[in-house]
Symmetry: C2
Subunit: 377 residues, 2 copies
């Protein structure tokens, strides 16, 4: 049986490889919002090794990770206060790095299996969830139930279970704050631990004034350092120290951890994180207009917090994305994304290359790509 | 419950971190044979990204990987022949990168679960096997049986099952060539696929004149690019193209793949691999003597193909390794290794730092460390 997702990735990688050879990296526009930057400082190049690397980087990641995941990016937080709080957090919490958010989730779910958790509940802003959680439960044979209805979830919570809350979907729909607080409180009164899958939510929710997952009392949180961030595709997992130790140790057994170069890039990203950059992208998304789309039936614009989606039927969506890649050197998740990732045609202004292209270049590329696809028929 | 393996790693990482701060990387001697080098060429620094990186590096890895895994390093193989053969291999085979050998094995075993394989058999040169295979089968609930007795394995082989052969144990005991050939042949006559877990074996077996796993007809092989190699801790998986595609695609879903910087380092390592370097280490191991150990009861020397093991009771072994780390700045797997890895006190002359230290420095450090541990009692 042909693996269609693999064929897609092989093909689009080959197309991209040829474009890079012809045009160079500077003339390619990755607008996925997931570019992933594995930047490593010169001083750290000596430590890209199996043993010395983690010795150096895990401790830095722990401190920068916890500081970041407790920062609500309010105007009023002062630095002295933050350093004192960090010392407090370090006593009972810990942050560690995984190869990807999906592998952090897999390590967590393996640990939950060891603990004989009877069911994993999953509250999502909108169904269906990112497939890595249900798939991990499925291969490990752990009962799983997901819903975007809070009453359904509340009715199922009981001791021996575990709750995952997704902060923001792949299409950037965010979770309701009041529902989240209610769920965490109810879980804790039933001795149920809560993991916040905040892959992109750790930034998007904050843009909407929500607090960080750890500040809301979640026991665990995972975020992806490439989503609305210029860091590596890697998972930063943090929270309750005892749980984190178990999960990390379990992850090491299956090779799920972030290794030296990825850890180094995670540390760099956290040290240089700019929330203002995301706010700027948000503003660009607010100002963005695309009236020309009205000329097309069944094609519509949908804004996201830091970008937009072009809604159209999936097959056409892929064809347009392929046209964008081949002729406008625009990388989208639709063409290059991981198997099972949402293939809606979306663009994000937090992308590494977003500043290199004007709104007009993006709009004209999309319009021309749509025309080319229509004319081919 | 305290996770002792995690505590060990946390503690030894902290000790190592302090030694690095005080003495610098140059004065540390990693003699594990698993140092792991994530060297990335300057020209590739632009492509340490989620989408452009794999587009560039996966194809290079495929070609260099297959060429390497078909190279028996005989004197008589000529280069023109090799290039022609490579084009042939590329038609039916493929090589891909995983974050670690353990994650390549996990992705494979997940794929076997999807295929409803009824049992995974595992032939090892000596029991027990590296724990990642039985553990992966266990969490995925796949029947598993391992043995170092070929008759036992032969009796169990039948259609619907899958065979893993370990090429060389963690302590570098290698598999018997005739038994291996017999097993592969018998499997193929029963439509059973064979994976060669050649983490270190891909080098050690060749030192003994054995052919590569793919040249023996294995359907799949995985090797670790840091074991007796100066490359990254990462898993190179290769073999039957259709199987590899399925496994890689499955791995991507759980975040098990090698990402851009690790792929780049894998390519560099393969391009610059020197079998002569390993042969030199083998010669050093052959010449190595350690008569002074005779003065100690229950402590003995055991040669490995490229280094040696100091056999002693496990608790003492760890204490000596800790002393070596603290006072002689010598890194061993005993102190720094992954959870569940074999904790025998072993030293490998293929290590990155092995050329920096004389046999005498190593021997004196070990003797002094043993004395210190004995005197503490």
């Amino acid at each position: 049986m042909k693996d269609l997702e693999f064929e897609r990735i092989s093909n689009t990688r080959e197309i991209l490889r040829n474009i890079i050879k012809k045009h160079g990296r500077d003339n390619i526009y990755d607008l996925t919002g997931l570019t992933g930057g594995f930047y490593i400082e010169n001083k750290n190049l000596d430590f890209l090794e199996t043993y010395t690397g983690p010795a150096i980087f895990t401790e830095k990641l722990n401190r920068h990770g916890l500081a970041y995941l407790h920062n609500d990016f309010n105007e009023d937080s002062d630095i002295k206060n933050k350093i004192e709080s960090l010392e407090e957090y370090c006593k009972s919490e810990m942050a560690v790095g995984f190869n990807r958010t999906s592998s952090a989730l897999l390590a967590t779910i393996i640990t939950l299996k060891n603990k004989k958790i009877s069911q994993i509940l999953h509250y999502v802003p909108e169904k269906p969830s990112h497939p890595s959680i249900p798939k991990s439960c499925n291969i490990l044979n752990i009962p799983y139930y997901e819903s975007d209805n809070i009453e359904e979830i509340l009715a199922l919570i009981e001791t021996g279970k575990f709750l995952i809350i997704t902060g923001s979907t792949m299409n950037h729909k965010i979770v309701d704050l009041e529902n989240t607080k209610k769920l965490i409180e109810y879980c804790h009164s039933n001795n149920v631990n809560v993991l916040f899958d905040d892959a992109s939510g750790a930034r998007i929710r904050l843009l909407n004034g929500q607090p960080t997952a750890l500040n809301m009392g979640a026991d665990l949180v995972v975020t992806s350092m490439d989503k609305l961030m210029t860091g590596p595709r890697a998972g930063l997992l943090a929270g309750n120290k005892e749980l984190i130790k178990e999960i990390y140790s379990e992850g090491l057994k299956y090779g799920l951890e972030a290794q030296a170069p990825i850890l180094a890039a995670m540390v760099y990203t956290l040290k240089n994180f700019s929330f203002d950059r995301i706010k700027k992208a948000q503003q660009r998304a607010i100002n963005f207009t695309f009236d020309e789309l009205c000329n097309y039936d069944n094609i519509s614009l949908e804004k996201t917090p830091t970008g937009f989606i072009i809604n159209m039927e999936p097959k056409k969506s892929f064809d347009v994305a392929l046209e964008l890649l081949k002729n406008y050197r625009v990388i989208t998740i639709t063409t290059m994304g991981m198997p099972d990732a949402s293939k809606t045609l979306r663009f994000d202004f937090t992308s590494k290359d977003a500043d290199k292209v004007s709104d007009n270049y993006i709009k004209n590329s999309i319009l021309n790509a749509i025309l080319a696809v229509i004319n081919k028929k």
